[in-house]
Amino acid sequence: MSRIWIWIFAMTIPALAAAQEARPLAENPQAEARLKALAVELRCLVCQNQTLADSNAPLAEDLRREVREMIAKNMSDREIIDFLVERYGDFVLYRPPLRAATTLLWIGPFLLLIVGGTALILALRRRQKTLPDAIVSEADHERVEQLLSDGAKRP
């Protein structure tokens, strides 16, 4: 009997571990929202396919801390982004700016679209030319008519 009581007691122990909600990262939810908005635009340099918001790399944590401090200093988004670009280059931006070196990146897809579209139009035109005009004899024509009308009669 006492064993059952021990079991029941043991099962109530987890209830003592009060669930705590995750603490907000900064006291100021507005600042945290700004950090979040900025961090999804910035690339983590350690795990390069993650944003600063997603990454758990120590460097990403440091950079988030740095951005948080700059937000606390009331710097504008532009200033914060410039601060990071000065140190890490355009690579930190998920949206690279339009520069001489990035022109191909920006217009490349459109160029490919134009090239592909032109090639398609040319190929279609050429094929149209090579298709012989079908000559349908009177007998064939009648047969087609008959077959079609037969089909239409069916329920």
């Binding site: 350690v46 440091d62 140190r87």
Partner: protein
């Protein structure tokens, strides 16, 4: 035969792009700091914690600034090269102990040898951010005027030392 020429040409161009792509290291992000003044700082020294080190003290010299840590594997890898460079005396190497503990850093240098003229301590990694460090080891060549002239991302190996760093150091020293 002729109708295969165009696809073949496209294929060759694509292979060319991919071949070049394979030789690039995506982890090497070109630093915008090359050609700019080395960011100033004032950090406590590793061996004598009551003293500080600032890059300003190095004006008029060509020197190497190496970010390292006792927890970093690449630093172990480049360590013999740095030791050899220090021995040759071609250029002074200054270290920044990046996000490390003092005890472990000192023990590491004790165990493997110390190639540094002096080591400064960047415990929180803030100076690292100013230098655009994103993974130790990283090494900067700084000229007499305090400008960054070269950045090595990742371990300095013998090839990089012989073909890039040493010729650059010699050229900068003669200026």
């Amino acid at each position: 035969m002729k109708r295969f020429l165009l696809p073949l040409a496209i294929f060759v161009v694509m292979v060319g792009f991919l071949a070049v792509g394979l030789t690039l290291n995506p982890r090497e992000v070109p630093s915008p700091l090359v050609g700019k003044a080395a960011p100033d700082f004032s950090l406590p020294q590793l061996h004598e914690s009551d003293k500080v080190f600032s890059p300003k003290e190095m004006a008029g010299q060509v020197w190497l600034l190496n970010f390292w840590a006792s927890w970093c594997n690449g630093c172990k890898e480049e360590h013999p090269v740095l030791m050899q460079l220090a021995k040759s005396g071609a250029a002074p190497i200054y270290g920044v102990d990046y996000k490390d503990t003092r005890e472990e850093a000192l023990a590491w240098l004790q165990q493997w040898g110390n190639p540094y003229r002096l080591v400064a301590v960047d415990g929180a990694g803030r100076i690292g951010i100013n230098y655009g460090v994103y993974g130790v080891p990283e090494t900067y060549v700084i000229d007499k005027a305090g400008k960054i002239r070269y950045k090595q991302i990742g371990p300095v190996d013998q090839d990089v030392l012989d073909q890039k760093i040493l010729p650059l150091v010699r050229e900068l020293q003669s200026q």
